[in-house]
Assembly symmetry: C2
Homo-oligomer: 455 residues x 2
């Protein structure tokens, strides 16, 4: 016997229950995106490597799955060249295409390629898998879905406001309590300017983030350890100790950044978004968090991140504004802002909190037991009638032992089983068994349909 087949490490099969749950997640996000006027697009799994390479840093290039050219891929690479070159150089000769690494770069490529057809501002959403040759580990996969929404071609902060509303609406629908954290790249730039250490901003935010855990003294030690002068550390004190309401924090920052026009602009942007959101009756709290510093090289304005309150897990959604996404493809000056829901982590949170609606996994509602011959043919017709009424129905295909057929119904949590033997067939009735209560009663097919439709 052959070895049991398997799938590549870091990839997953999804069975019926997992699919039902995943579809619930994707459908919820899709519905909210649509409600806000975002339009769905899809791009190919394979992009030209010229589109992907150099967009995710050196480490990212290594994590791209590259696709071997078809046919004589080796034709133009001599043995001498093969010996001389390293793996990355050879890969570039053997491969022209790669699997997409995220949805953002393909989106930028899409906008530039289709710019003549697109009406700005362009609001798109995209729910597709991406692939990364990361070392697989718990909760990190080599194939996973991203659920992105972006607006390009509009500088308005109302876009930021709407994306926050979307985040709030999606998690409210899921029943997941979250904290939405907001920051602004310009505030971080202002801080760096203020202390004259622009290149240390990541180290600084990492250190400040530890305040709760290690206390002010240790934070200051760490800041000195990464090379900040005593004067710089001194200037950072009001920022490290930042607390209070969002308005109080903003006021403190406004004073601390009084000399940085960029920093003040960042404060104004966050203030506008928070103020506008005050009238939106959000279900979740939005909190200014200066330690939020995701994707610094990439974002230029507001930055968001969402944390679940009731489960210990990393960020489950994130996003922000970028001012030059399409510049890499020769179309400068197009501002955009976007968010990305982390479907796999949301899946884990919904599982842990057991938040799936009961209807999520309801599959087949009615199974006809197969007694063979004329009875089975008759049941096919009854099943067709039930399906016309929208009731998901099966006829067990084989006339095997009743026990086996009932085991099938149980395994699939089918709530009702129909038994139509010779006598029921003659009388034009169905013996309907409620699999939860065990009760059985004799009904016409129309009565069966009425009962199931009422559920």
């Amino acid at each position: 016997m052959a070895q049991k087949p398997s799938i590549p490490k870091g990839t997953r099969d999804f069975g019926a229950v997992e699919m039902a749950r995943r579809n619930y997640i994707f459908d919820t996000i899709r519905q909210v995106y649509s409600l806000y006027g975002f339009r769905q697009i899809e791009t190919p799994a394979m992009e030209n490597l010229s589109t992907l390479m150099g967009k995710y840093g050196e480490e990212g290039d290594k994590l791209l799955f590259k696709i071997l050219n078809s046919g004589d891929f080796n034709r133009e690479v001599s043995a001498a060249e093969y010996t001389e070159k390293n793996a990355a150089q050879l890969a570039a000769r053997f491969c022209e295409k790669g699997l997409r690494y995220d949805l953002t770069v393909p989106f930028a490529r899409y906008v530039v390629q289709h710019r003549e057809e697109l009406q700005m501002p362009f609001k798109r959403y995209q729910i597709q898998p991406v692939w990364r040759a990361d070392r697989p580990q718990k909760g990190r996969y080599r194939e996973f879905y991203q659920c992105d929404a972006d607006v390009v071609g509009s500088d308005s902060l109302l876009n930021e406001v709407e994306l926050m509303q979307i985040v709030d609406e999606v998690f409210t629908r899921f029943g997941i309590r979250v904290c939405i954290k907001i920051n602004n790249r310009k505030i971080l730039t202002g801080i760096a300017e203020m202390i004259g250490e622009a290149d240390k901003i990541v180290d600084i935010t990492v250190a400040i983030d530890k305040l709760d855990k290690i206390g002010l003294e240790k934070v200051n030690e760490e800041l000195r350890a990464v090379g900040l002068s005593d004067e710089a550390v001194q200037k950072l004190q009001p920022i490290i100790a930042l607390s209070g309401s969002n308005s109080e924090k903003l006021e403190t920052m406004r004073q601390a950044l009084a000399d940085s026009p960029t920093g003040l602009k960042g404060v104004d942007e966050v203030a506008f978004v928070l103020q506008t959101l005050q009238h939106s009756n959000l279900h979740n709290e939005v909190e200014l968090d200066l330690t939020l510093a995701r994707g610094l090289n990439y974002y230029t304005g507001c930055i968001f991140e969402v944390k679940a309150l009731d489960v210990q897990i990393g960020s489950i959604t994130g996003g922000g504004r970028y001012d030059n996404l399409t510049g890499i493809f020769g179309m400068p000056g197009l501002s955009g802002v976007g968010i990305s829901f982390g479907a796999d982590r949301i899946y884990d949170v919904l599982n842990q909190l057991n938040l799936y609606p009961a209807a999520t996994e309801s599959g087949v509602q009615l199974l006809f037991i197969n007694f063979g011959g004329a009875e089975a043919a008759h049941c096919l017709q009854l099943a067709a009638t039930a399906r016309q009424a929208g009731i998901a129905t099966e006829v067990y295909p084989d006339a095997v032992k009743m026990k086996k057929q009932m085991a099938y119904a149980n395994a699939h949590h089918v709530p009702y089983v129909a038994l139509v033997g010779e006598s029921e067939m003659a009388e034009g009735r169905v013996a309907l068994k409620d699999m939860n209560s065990g009760e059985q009663c004799s009904l016409t097919i129309d009565e069966v349909i009425a009962r199931l439709a009422a559920r």
Copy 2:
């Protein structure tokens, strides 16, 4: 300026309108599959090459997209070996994974890998893209979706009957008139046995298929040209001239194949399926067609194919029974039967016949014009109210010229535009413009919602 980016040949981007249409197709198929108790699964885009290689013939192996191993993929291949080996052999050393080529082999792999968890009969459906390094041409892509449903673990011909019902239901929902063709591999085997030319069955069906076009004389000439004896050609005459109703054809075949137990079994199988279907009130005709010979090496029982009646295009759906799909993975004796809808061709047919329901592309229903400042903030709240009522709503993000905002509404076919200036805001009203009639009226937001919900 950089060169305009592009996508790999044979791949496609899908914009908002195409996505709406494609989702309509996939959702329709999904709904019908679910109604019949099929359960959705998904498998990874990447499979181990050991799973894929050798399953699609020599030509198929060449059409697999192979994924270069990560890191030092070339480490174990010396320059000498590099020179000695051909492209296929080198590919096998450089690559362990490939993109799935269809949904059938991954499904077989899934069944074998998860057999302990699966309840037989196992009815699954799967709607995912597949990739083939085919030469791209009109209507043939390197990435395309397949929409498969299969039942494994049941020999019952009721499965064939249900799949025909599904085909009929799906195309009825689409409004596409079709002819469902049915044949049986065992009938073809019987014919080959009868004339003692088992290896020529494909040539024979190809020749017979030309009867309408070239006439009986030329068909017989062609049969002799592929090497059939005069006696064999003579024996084939009743089969070539086969006509009349399905029952008449079956009767003729029963006589012609009287000496072939296998052939007669095939006739019985088709007769059972057709007879059982007679009580199903199908909307489309099912026709026995002996020239139907798709995937001969693969199918072992009934074979189906669907042709659109009102558009000249190849088969838009196909399928059949196979008796040993999982045997290739060491799990013999599991019979299965399946169908596959050709989404891309169905898309073309729906386009040509203009059969998309009007609602398919309805996106945003209401756009608030942005007059800036306090008015815009007020509109955000009104928009939130409309969205709570399930109305897809946008607020134009920038306070630009009215003309530009109206152009945006027109480009996206938004049916209603809301204008809320200073006076409307003061009065608590909305000036609602019907973009089709051009009429404008003053309403409260609740009246706006009532009007749009009634649409």
